[in-house]
């Protein structure tokens, strides 16, 4: 009985040790295998690409501040003027002084449009304003105030586009306006679109942002809208008339195409 027990003991110990060793080896294998398998073998980066700057277009007044288009009263024989600024930098008053204004190089074309109803016999003229560079024309006080002198320059409408946009006020739209009971003849006049796409040098209207050594420079294009009454009108006919006037700027944003 003693010998059998001893043999059994030996066997149990042997078995036990073998079991332990096998288990440890298995554990070792699993660890090394797991590490080997999930390790990323190789990695590499691509070259850098820039992200294009979005088109930032703002309609401002002549000072570079927010625009409020108001004219007040227009007397006969008087010409009222409104200065409009078109820029790629927002009005100073609206700035959050975000760092993004240290911007990216950017260049894009834009269109400038004056749209107005014609209930009142008013003539609207749009001019481009060019900064007078020659300092000899500027008075000393104005120079010290940083006053800018602007010169009127003639710009021409995009005749075909303006005509097309104006004509889009067509039969269907007229019918929509008068509704079922009315007649198209009841309509007295329609909205005019005057579209400008080139400056006085016949170059497309364009805004450019340039970044140079950490500082960004923007552009501000000036426009002048003049209003005056037509000649020989009978004012009493227009006492209750009102007109709507819109100044619209659009960035020209073509979809990228493969050259």
């Amino acid at each position: 009985m003693e010998t059998t027990k001893q043999r059994k003991k030996k066997l149990n110990r042997k078995q036990f040790l073998t079991l332990v060793i096998m288990f440890s080896v298995l554990l070792l294998m699993l660890i090394s295998f797991a590490w080997y398998y999930f390790k990323t073998d190789k990695e590499v980066d691509s070259k850098l690409a820039d992200v294009m700057a979005p088109y930032y277009l703002y309609l401002l007044d002549g000072e570079g501040d927010s625009l409020s288009l108001s004219i007040g009263s227009l007397h006969p024989g008087e010409t009222k003027q409104v200065v409009i600024g078109v820029s790629n930098k927002p009005a100073d008053s609206s700035l959050n002084l975000d760092d993004y204004l240290v911007g990216k190089n950017s260049q894009f074309d834009y269109k400038f449009a004056l749209a107005y109803t014609q209930n009142l016999p008013i003539v609207y003229s749009v001019y481009e304003l060019e900064i007078v560079e020659d300092e000899s024309d500027i008075t000393a006080t104005d120079q010290s105030n940083n006053t800018i002198y602007l010169e009127k320059k003639d710009i021409s409408k995009d005749e075909s586009e303006s005509a097309r946009l104006t004509e889009e006020n067509n039969e269907e739209m007229y019918q929509d306006a008068v509704g079922d009971g009315g007649s198209v003849e009841d309509i007295v006049n329609y909205v005019r679109y005057d579209l400008y796409t080139t400056d006085y040098k016949s170059v497309p209207l364009c805004l450019e942002t340039t970044v140079n050594a950490g500082s960004t420079s923007y552009e501000l294009d000036y426009y002048l809208i003049e209003m005056e009454w037509k000649d020989g009108i009978e004012f009493s006919n227009f006492i209750k008339e009102t007109d709507l006037v819109y100044v619209i700027v659009d960035a020209v944003q073509p979809e990228p195409e493969v050259k």
């Binding site: 003991k9 980066d45 691509s46 690409a49 979005p54 993004y100 240290v102 911007g103 950017s106 979809e255």
Partner: protein, 275 residues
């Protein structure tokens, strides 16, 4: 029978402290040996160890190159070079260069990247490729920003939008368009071949296509299923007055305003199998 069983159990637990101790010591020793070996191999300061690896070529499992037939990227890095995958894209109108000759990503642009993977062991039958704008490690964001003033939440919003706007695909076909949208969690598996005659791995060119859809309507089918946080600008969406198309455009503006550069990070790992 029961008595025997009980006795055997007793036998096992006799001198159990000695047995446990020997077992524990065995495991501890094994762990030390493994850790030391791992540390030895991954220690980057030890140049001579690296050189040994290259000469024998025994531990190289997979080769990654940025040009056809070129050397492995790690070999080039040891020589002080900085291998990068080139961006292949056509020339576009309406896209203004931001900075010299660096390629420009903009809504409406597209292109591709190609990497070259070669198996170095016969049992490497495939590889997993994971391209992303964000590396696996914390400090490896592929985006650089225009300003340092962005909060972590703002950066998170922008990163989500980049994932949804600059899309990565495995396939492009003239007729069927883009397919095989890749996300951070879906690596691409490519089979690798072995040339039995020369006893060398066959270099495989793997191309990943990228595309930044111009408008919401241009999103390829697979991308339309992406989460809204990746497609639409969340700040504007909260105002609840814009269409999805406008919100996609606002997201484009947010990316263009805040992101200076992007780069893609590629992770390549070997997949083992039977040849």
């Amino acid at each position: 029978m029961r008595k025997n069983f009980f006795q055997s159990v007793k036998e096992i637990f006799r001198d159990w402290d000695l047995k446990v101790m020997s077992y524990v010591m065995l495991v501890v020793t094994a762990t030390c040996v493994i850790t030391a070996t791992v540390a030895w191999f991954t220690c980057s300061a030890y140049a001579s160890v690296r050189n040994m690896e290259i000469k024998t070529g025994d531990t190289e499992v997979i080769k990654l190159a940025v040009k056809e037939g070129n050397e492995d990227v790690e070999v080039l890095r040891e020589n002080g070079e900085d291998p990068r995958v080139s961006i292949s894209m056509p020339v576009f109108t309406g896209v203004t260069q931001v900075d010299g000759d660096i390629p420009v990503f903009a809504p409406g642009t597209y292109g591709s990247f190609t990497i070259y993977v070669t198996p170095m062991k016969t049992n490497v039958t495939a590889c997993k490729v994971l391209p992303s704008f964000f590396g696996s490690k914390e400090d490896q964001s592929g985006l650089t920003y225009m300003t340092d003033n962005l909060s972590d939440e703002e950066k998170e919003v922008i990163e989500q939008l980049v994932k949804g706007h600059i899309l990565l695909f495995t396939n492009y076909n003239e007729t069927t368009g883009y397919s095989g949208l890749l996300t951070d969690t879906t690596p691409l598996t490519v089979e690798l071949g072995w040339d039995k005659e020369t006893n060398k791995g066959i270099e495989e060119a793997i191309t990943i296509y990228w595309y930044w859809p111009y408008e919401y309507e241009d999103l390829p089918a697979e991308a339309q299923k992406l989460d809204e946080a990746q497609l639409l600008d969340p700040e504007r969406q909260a105002e609840d007055k814009y269409s999805d198309s406008r919100l996609y455009d606002f997201a484009d503006t947010r990316i263009g305003t805040n992101v200076k550069n992007v780069k893609i990070h590629f992770e390549v790992s070997a997949v083992y199998g039977n040849n």
